[in-house]
């Protein structure tokens, strides 16, 4: 009968809605429990759980999901910095969770990661072609390919820029990023105790003038070491994170130690040249100050010849390496009337 159909339809609709919302709150509860079980609050997804939480749900979902795409085989490529980004992502997640503990937005955003080897089809569903990749799947997004991608600029300042991205897209506040302090409380306590025990001895030694600091050889060694360290361009290697050596592109079994081109240098190259710089100076100092005190003339002669030979070779090597690397041709300017 027409009149009794509508309430039944209504009942069916309401019960469906209740079932679905029950299903939805089930999902949220499941996500929450997964989150509490996982390290730093980042849920690990695979194909099955992705479909459960994202693809086979209806929009609008009560939550958004921020996914970090990872691939273990690419972890050792330093230029991608996947492990660093992953740990920053984890910091972001744990800060969000701890800052939003009692607020309703705790269940509105979930942080997940997904690995390539386990879930290749999910990667295909998102249309991922390169890493690092972070995607935000909003509540209204139907097809996974339409999810918002975090740009390079949003990843550049690590967790700070990631939190800005999250706040601007989801309108949820992440709060301040809580980074772990450099030393834990136990370590600090230990240091303080050690310092207190050590302090009286140090003071006594300083007054007596016998500490390490008073030995001029230590200063000499450290001065020469700092010189060696700087002159080999180690700062450049640290700042630019240059490797010690590269594999030859044409022949992967060979290693390149010296890079041709004046803008860059490799680690081993820098240290080799720094060593050559320092050794010539130290040999000269040795000959001037130590060798003169040796009594045996033959020993003096042999050592001096050795020192001269090594220094000559070292200087020649550095000069030729410099010409090869930079391509400059240093030449003298003779008067043109001599030509």
């Amino acid at each position: 009968m027409a009149i009794s159909e509508k309430p039944i339809l209504l009942l069916i609709l309401i019960s469906l809605a209740v079932v679905f919302s029950g299903a939805e709150s089930d999902r949220v509860a499941e996500l929450l429990s997964l989150q509490s079980r996982s390290k730093s609050g980042v849920i690990h997804l695979d194909d099955h759980s992705l479909s459960r939480f994202l693809t086979s749900t209806t929009t609008p979902r009560p939550y958004s999901i921020l996914i970090f795409f990872d691939a273990t085989q690419l972890h050792d490529k330093p230029e991608l910095n996947l492990q660093g980004l992953r740990s920053e992502f984890g910091l972001l997640a744990s800060s969000f969770i701890s800052n939003n503990k009692d607020s309703p937005s705790a269940s509105k955003l979930f942080f997940c990661d997904i690995e390539f080897k386990e879930s290749q089809s999910s990667f295909a569903q998102f249309g991922i072609t390169s890493l690092p990749h972070i995607r935000l799947v909003g509540p209204d997004v139907k097809s996974l390919k339409d999810s918002e991608q975090m740009e390079q600029g949003d990843i550049s300042r690590m967790a700070d820029s990631m939190s800005d991205f999250v706040e601007s897209r989801t309108k949820l506040s992440v709060g301040p990023i809580k980074r772990p302090p450099m030393f834990s409380k136990k370590q600090l306590g230990f240091f303080v105790a050690a310092f207190l025990v050590w302090a009286p001895f140090v003071v006594k030694k300083v007054l007596a003038g016998q500490t390490l600091l008073h030995d001029s050889k230590i200063w000499l060694g450290s001065a020469v070491f700092v010189y060696f360290f700087s002159v080999s361009g180690t700062m450049h290697n640290i700042i630019r994170k240059m490797p010690m050596f590269l594999a030859d592109r044409n022949d992967p079994s060979k290693l390149i130690f010296f890079y041709q081109g004046s803008g860059m240098q490799l680690g081993a190259e820098g240290f080799a040249i720094g060593f050559l710089y320092t050794i010539v100076g130290l040999l000269l100092a040795f000959v001037t100050h130590v060798l003169v005190r040796v009594k045996n003339v033959t020993v003096q002669r042999v050592i001096m010849l050795f020192a001269l030979f090594i220094s000559f070779l070292a200087v020649k090597k550095v000069v030729s390496l410099d010409n090869w690397k930079t391509g400059y041709g240093i030449h003298a300017f003779w008067p043109s009337s001599w030509n």
């Binding site: 020469v224 700062m235 000959v287 001037t288 000069v319």
Partner: protein, 681 residues
Amino acid sequence: MTMIAITTHFVPRGQQGSRYPIRSCQSLTRPSMAASEDSNQSKIRTVFGSVLSFFILILIGVLAFSIRLFSVIKYESVIHEFDPYFNYRVTQFLTKNGIYDFWNWFDDRTWYPLGRVIGGTVYPGLTLTAGSIWWLLNSLNIPLSVETVCVFTAPIFSANAAWATYLLTKEVKGTGAGLTAAALLAMVPSYISRSVAGSYDNEAVAIFALIFTFYLYIKTLNTGSLFYATLNAITYFYMVCSWGGYTFIINLIPMHVLLCIVTGRYSSRLYIAYAPLVVLGTLLAALVPVVGFNAVMTSEHFASFLVSSVGTMILPSNFVVNFSLQVFIIIHVVALVYYIKGILSPKMFKVAVTLVVSVGLVVCCAVVAVLIALVASSPTKGWSGRSLSLLDPTYASKYIPIIASVSEHQPPTWPSYFMDINVLAFLVPAGIVACFLPLSDASSFVVLYIVTSVYFSGVMVRLMLVLAPAACILSGIALSEAFDVLTRSIKFQLPGLPENSQIDVSLILFMLLTIKAGDTTSSSVVTQNDAAKTNKNEDTLKERPSRKNRKKEKEHVEKTSIKSQIKKRLLVLPLEASVAAIFLLVLLGAFYVVHCVWAAAEAYSAPSIVLTSHSHDGLHVFDDFREAYAWLRHNTEVDDKVSFLHVYLSVVCLIFLNLFLHGIMVWNCSCILIVFTLLEL
């Protein structure tokens, strides 16, 4: 026996090895013909040495000036690059309107519509220097234009810098080292790059001020004279006027003072060298409008780390005074300690020390406990490690991208060292070792200078300029010591040497004395040759200054001579090896000269305003910039506003035109946005 034997006369070695020039030598012997002859000889040698040094210094000055003239010869006497044009414009204004107008100048024609307070944002040293040179020359009726004076300021001051290096190194190790260091600095490519004729920039004058300040500091440290201390403060003021790099001086000198205190070398000379500099220098530095209160407040520079990081946790951040004032307080504490030590008897002093140390430890523990409480209560606000970032080379690239992007701020690779200081990179370690044997206050300062400058030059290639003088000083010391040993080896081992005949009988008696004293090592060397060698030994002893103490010191002299006889021999190397070594060192020096001339001619002498290219039909000169400005001048009104994308071009333009200009300045992002929108980029 001993009475007869005391006929030592000390032949002075000349100027090397002593810190103060030996003006005359006086012989202590009984007046004898040989003695007066020798003293005459040594006087002649000293005088000859001084005259020779003078001429060498003049030649070094000429060398420094002329190696920087390549661009004037290749192109014309024009100011290079783009930034110096700003300084040139300011100098023009100064010469036209006088110093009071310059000091209060508000320029409404740059950075339109904001304008720029020139008096308060520019380092006045360079412009005032060039302006005074121009004024002086004009008052002597030598009508040079402002542009000529500006172009040639840099070479003149590099000659001055070479002379200052001579003075500084002479204070550390003696005249020979000084001359070598000066010759090296005159040519070092790193300095040439910033002081070539036409490079009218702050560094041209500032490096001279830097070296001269260091020289006066060392001089005060060596002599303890307040006169030099005051001169030091005034020169420091000149440095503050010239360049932002004055922070290097005001951090390095306190570090050295701290180092001296920690290694037990405190003395009243140290106090006189440091305290007047801080007081007068800080007061004078605060007078410069650009610096103002930065002279006193926390400086973001390398030496403040530990103490100010602790301080910032306790006090508001702008309350912490900078490093030089912290050391000022420390040196007063140390002076007080020494003063008390002098007053009290040793026992009382020990009691006082234990009391103070125990009280100090209690206070220290309390402070540490407070700190721990602070750190524990707010883990993120604790030691954020920001202070470590001053030492951390990757700080700028992570947090301040716009500074990290400047090409001068990139870290250098090893070819940069080879290009900029060339052969000196090989010699510096030898210089460091030579400074430690023996270690004095001055040589410890030089070692500290090289270590800090080489570290910071490793972080930023622009700071190689600060490394250059240090490298020259140390290489000069190393070369001088090496030449000393090698030439000594050759001189005293040449075959057929007439000096063997100059045996002093008294010295043989000395030898017999030593045999009697029971030392067996020197007993085997009682021969004629060795007598000549021991003649040389006397050279290494210091000379006695006056006749009055002759009697008192006779015994003392005797004893030291005996000891020195026992311990010292002629310190030489084999002859042929020495000849080979000298030859190789000369070759190294020749390579250095060739490289420097090449670098000056090819690499560092391009005025970026004018470009050239070589083609099959000769040399093409592109003068596009100046032609463009000339076109603008003819085709625009005086009050037109011109917008430039590249700020430096706008600066150059101002010289040729008198327009309102709107360039992109780094610290006003909204202006940048407007310009980009205008140009629809």
